[in-house]
């Protein structure tokens, strides 16, 4: 099993969710995060002092999937989340050693 961590632009969340539903990914966990990268933040002005906001709002999606689904899932996210502009985000794949469903005693892939 793998954990797919994708950092995307907030307004792409709905589209990504739909793209994942289509390929049968049924569960995910979403966190509001702030991203720092190549994309430049906007400039805010407060009482005459300009300052640049470095941290941009992003959304992090975490999805646990069986190893064989990683490629398809990554592809689906890339397609749905791409706007072509700088700051579209990243996808990281991490190994998961065990998984459990709290409600039942399911373990491993059947827990997803």
């Amino acid at each position: 099993m793998k954990l797919i961590k994708a950092i995307i632009k907030p307004f792409k969340l709905e589209e990504v969710k739909e793209a994942l539903s289509e390929i049968g990914v049924e569960g995910m966990t979403v966190t509001e995060v702030k991203g720092f990268g190549r994309q430049k933040g906007h400039t805010e002005i407060y009482r005459g002092s300009e300052y640049t906001v470095d941290f941009l709002p992003k959304v992090k999606i975490e999805i646990a999937v069986p190893a064989e689904l990683v490629a398809g899932t990554v592809e689906a996210i890339k397609k749905a989340a791409r706007s072509g502009k700088i700051g579209d985000g990243k996808i990281f794949v991490l190994p998961i050693e065990a998984a459990f469903r709290i409600r039942t005693d399911d373990e491993g892939e059947s827990a997803l």
Partner: protein, 457 residues
């Protein structure tokens, strides 16, 4: 200048309670007997009460309190960071509570008692009122001040005594000790607010009144007075951690806009209420207040639009306040076109002060108390000497003696408030200290000083 003030009343002296005696005892034991003859006489005179004026002044009082609670508290509260929002709110609440109590104990008397004053004579009582009306001694249901009950006059003026120290707290927001703030404000109220208020509004024999200063609703008394205290205090307390390096952005701009709107609406009570009657002058004060504020808000947004393409919400609010401040001293004497001019001028000057000047000199007047109230008050006080409205509605502009008189009153206020602030803050710094620890500043005053978080999700 237009303030009606109560005449010194001989019977008041007879029951003057000694200031240091516990007010609790005073409450229970005021003597009743000797007043009966005077009262009987009073009853036969036709009552001076005008129900319309009274109705307006009760409401004006409510409006001015509304400016502090919740108006100013929110205006300031939204501008600080999340971790300090409650500290501002508590300070405003505490100011309202403490100043109310001090006002009834001695404040009203020191500000408005006219014992010892004489037209044309400058003496001690041109600066400080006597203590004859301490504990509001002798003020009953049948006491009048002009056409309104004296109780209403007392409360109306009290709301000015509340908002003035509350204004100051914006200058040293997010870093000053609560105990030091309260102590400073009590001393400053006693030795700067009360005398300046007396000089301006206690009538014949008071310093500014003798000079013929125009300060209809408190340009010197309230705004310059508070603005200077704020400047001195923020210099002495020092900058916030991170000032200049991080944005220290407002945590909740909608709160600030709510507060600014309440200030705007409440200010009608402040300015039109200062006429102490519901008449044509009050009506004109209403109109010019609205016009100056609108012009100033527009000007601030315009400057931002030109400079960066983004007229901001905080800018609109700050501009409006700059206009409100500047029209305050002039609201009883200018017409709508003068108000337009004053609003525009104030906005430009305050904008420069709150941005360029502050950056140039590097002081951390956190919420621009000096930049807006100090500068706006000075602009308004001086221009009040230049614009006049005639009876038929014709307006004129002149730079003459009146302007010079106004400048003198501004200078006195700056020196007086500056000196009182400097001495008081130095003493506090030497004894209990002015500033919270670095750790407390980092954690935020809400948790550190008040043991509470503003928001819990």
């Amino acid at each position: 200048m237009n303030k009606t003030h109560p005449q010194p009343n001989p019977r008041r002296k007879s029951i003057f309670p000694i200031l240091i005696s516990c007010f609790f005892v005073a409450a229970a034991s005021r003597l009743q007997a000797q007043d009966s003859v005077v009262d009987a006489m009073a009853e036969q005179m036709p009552s001076p009460l005008d129900s319309g004026d009274t109705a307006w002044m009760i409401v004006a009082t409510a409006l001015v309190l509304f400016m502090t609670l919740p108006g100013l508290a929110l205006f300031y509260g939204g501008l600080v960071r999340t971790k300090n929002v409650l500290s501002i709110l508590v300070q405003c609440f505490a100011m309202a509570a403490v100043m109310t109590v001090l006002w009834v104990i001695y404040g009203y008397s020191v500000a408005f008692n006219t014992t010892g004053m004489e037209a044309g004579v400058i003496n001690f009582h041109s600066f400080f009122g006597g203590l004859g009306t301490a504990f509001l001694s002798g003020i009953g249901v049948e006491s009048f001040s002009g056409s309104i009950p004296e109780s209403v006059f007392v409360t109306f003026q009290m709301t000015f005594a509340i908002i003035t120290p509350a204004l100051i707290v914006g200058a040293f927001a997010e870093r000053m000790k609560f105990s030091a703030i309260m102590l400073f404000c009590v001393v400053w109220f006693t030795f700067s607010y009360l005398p300046i208020c007396h000089m301006a509004w206690a009538g014949d024999g008071a310093l500014f009144a003798e000079w013929g200063v125009i300060d209809f609703a408190g340009g010197t008394v309230v705004h310059i007075n508070a603005g200077i205290a704020g400047l001195v205090a923020c210099l002495m307390v020092g900058k916030r951690r991170g000032f200049g390096a991080e944005p220290l952005a407002p945590h909740n701009v909608p709160l600030t806009l709510i507060g600014a709107s309440m200030l705007w609406v409440g200010w009608f009570g402040f300015n039109a209420g200062s006429e102490l009657a519901a008449d044509g002058t009050a009506g004109m004060a209403l109109l010019v207040t609205q016009v100056a504020t609108a012009a100033a808000a527009l000007a601030w947004m315009g400057i931002e639009w030109i400079k960066s393409g983004t007229p901001t919400a905080v800018g609109a609010a700050t501009g409006a306040v700059a206009g409100l401040v500047a029209i305050t001293p002039a609201s009883g004497s200018v017409g709508p076109m003068g108000a337009l001019a004053i609003g525009l001028a104030s906005s430009v000057c305050c904008y420069l002060a709150a941005t360029k000047l502050k950056r140039r000199l590097g002081y951390d007047d956190s919420l621009d108390v000096f930049g807006v109230h100090g500068i706006g008050g000075i602009v308004g006080a001086v221009l009040a000497g230049c614009f006049f409205m005639g009876e038929g509605g014709a307006e004129s502009f002149s730079l003459g003696m009146q302007t010079w008189v106004q400048v003198k009153s501004v200078l006195v206020t700056i020196l007086w408030s500056g000196l009182v602030s400097l001495v008081t803050l130095t003493l506090i710094q030497k004894t209990m200290g002015l500033r919270v620890s670095e750790e407390d500043e980092e954690l935020g005053l809400d948790l550190a000083t008040h043991g509470e978080a503003g928001y819990t999700h």
